[in-house]
Amino acid sequence: MTWTVFFTAIFSAMLINNVVLLRFLGVCPFLGVSKKTESALGMSMAVTFVMVVAAAVTYPLYYLVLKPLEIEYVQTIAFILIIASLVQLVEMFIKKFSKKLYKSLGIYLPLITTNCAILGIAVQNITDNYADLYGIGPGFFVAVVTAFGAALGFGLVMFSFSSIRERLDAATNLPESWRGVPVSLIVAGIMALAFLGLGGIV
């Protein structure tokens, strides 16, 4: 196990298997919070934070609690409860310690519970079976790094998409029926095509 494993995990989660454009996780915030670059960045930061922490909590939960007890089938319930309470905890924590951070991230935190990217990555980390590939201990680090890479990919796409969208809103020569969401979806489609081209990097 070398550093290349981590770099491969980051790049593959960020670009090749981009959460939003190629795996369709977290499309709701992708369309909902991308009208302004500022809010897109806030959302991405909140997602990065929660995604990494969620991956770091759910992975040991599965291998240290659910698997030894042979109750893997409650995985979904356990994970979503963990994520919901984690979001609540993070919200309280940020509120207490950094008013400034709370002001910029606070409104996005409740939305994150229903962001499928968080639960999706947590479940994916289990189904991709890092524990068998690298052993339970090192697998933990791969899982966390994958979550970080996926969050970076989410942020990258959110940022570029919101910048495009700001310009699209200013465009006046667009046919009326395409304005708003339809043209944004077409743009997202073209971005997905561009990301398909990155498939050969790793």
């Binding site: 795996r23 996780l25 409650v74 962001n115 395409w178 969401v181 979806l185 077409i186 997202a188 997905a192």
Partner: protein, 255 residues
């Protein structure tokens, strides 16, 4: 008394019917509210997977709506959302295990999107905005209507994508129908656009469908606006006529 009851039921039936049908076009969760877009993009590369996903959502949404509306009075306000999530994820786990047992191909192809039904905003949204305020029967009907509307939207996307990407509509491949084959089989590899089966095609197909719906909507609004203008002009004309008549009459009276 009897007339009163009859009146009440007559009033109630169209209410429930509208409650059922609103999910299809008027309040379609995917096309109007953009809820549940993640599965609408991810599992709609073929018609059958879309239908399968839709059926799973029907099951989960109806049952979770029933249970939420049954226990709505016992849930403290502070833990409302977590308790809804627990109820929903219980049904999702059930549905996942059932799919794995009876439709393994579907289970494999939906993959991660079966546990992700938990975070489908449509289900939590209906629990929060409808089932927690209404009685059991109307909650169940609302859930059924909304979920069938979701299924309808998914199938529309699925049909377009599968046809564009493969030139045929296959059946019996993922759902355990007993028979398999395909309809509309244009077996010329000239028209197959594989990109529509992939991720980019999902975005583009939904974008085009939304644009068509928006165009229809705009057209309707324009027509309504024209009709309104006509009505205003007609009214103005009538008023003017009346005024003239009155003036004539009063002039006649004076003379």
């Amino acid at each position: 008394m009897a007339a009163n009851v009859a009146k009440k039921t007559a009033k109630k039936t169209p209410g429930q019917l509208a409650n059922f049908t609103k999910g299809f076009i008027k309040e379609n969760p995917v096309f109007v509210f953009l809820l549940g877009l993640c599965p609408a993009l991810a599992v709609t590369s073929t018609l059958e997977t879309s239908l399968g996903m839709g059926l799973l959502v029907v099951f989960v949404l109806v049952l979770s709506n029933i249970v939420v509306s049954l226990i709505k009075n016992f849930i403290p306000k502070e833990v409302k959302i977590p308790s809804y999530i627990v109820i929903i994820s219980t049904f999702v786990t059930m549905v996942g295990l059932l799919t794995e047992a009876y439709a393994e191909n579907l289970f494999e192809s939906l993959g991660i999107f079966i546990p992700l039904i938990v975070v489908n905003c449509l289900i939590l949204g209906r629990a929060e905005s409808f089932a927690s305020k209404n009685n059991v029967v109307s909650s169940a009907i609302d859930g059924l209507g909304m979920a069938l509307g979701f299924t309808f939207a998914l199938m529309l996307i699925g049909v377009s994508r599968e046809f564009l990407s493969t030139g045929a509509i296959a059946y019996g491949e993922y759902l355990p129908l007993g028979v398999s084959g395909s309809i509309f089989n244009f077996d010329t590899h000239l028209f197959n656009m594989a990109v529509f089966g992939g991720p980019a095609g999902g975005f583009i197909v939904i974008g085009v469908i939304l644009a068509i719906l928006q165009a229809i909507d705009l057209n309707k609004k324009k027509k309504a606006e024209i009709a309104r203008q006509k009505m205003i002009e007609e009214k103005k004309r009538l008023a003017l006529e009346r005024k003239r008549k009155k003036e004539l009459e009063s002039a006649g009276g004076q003379a």
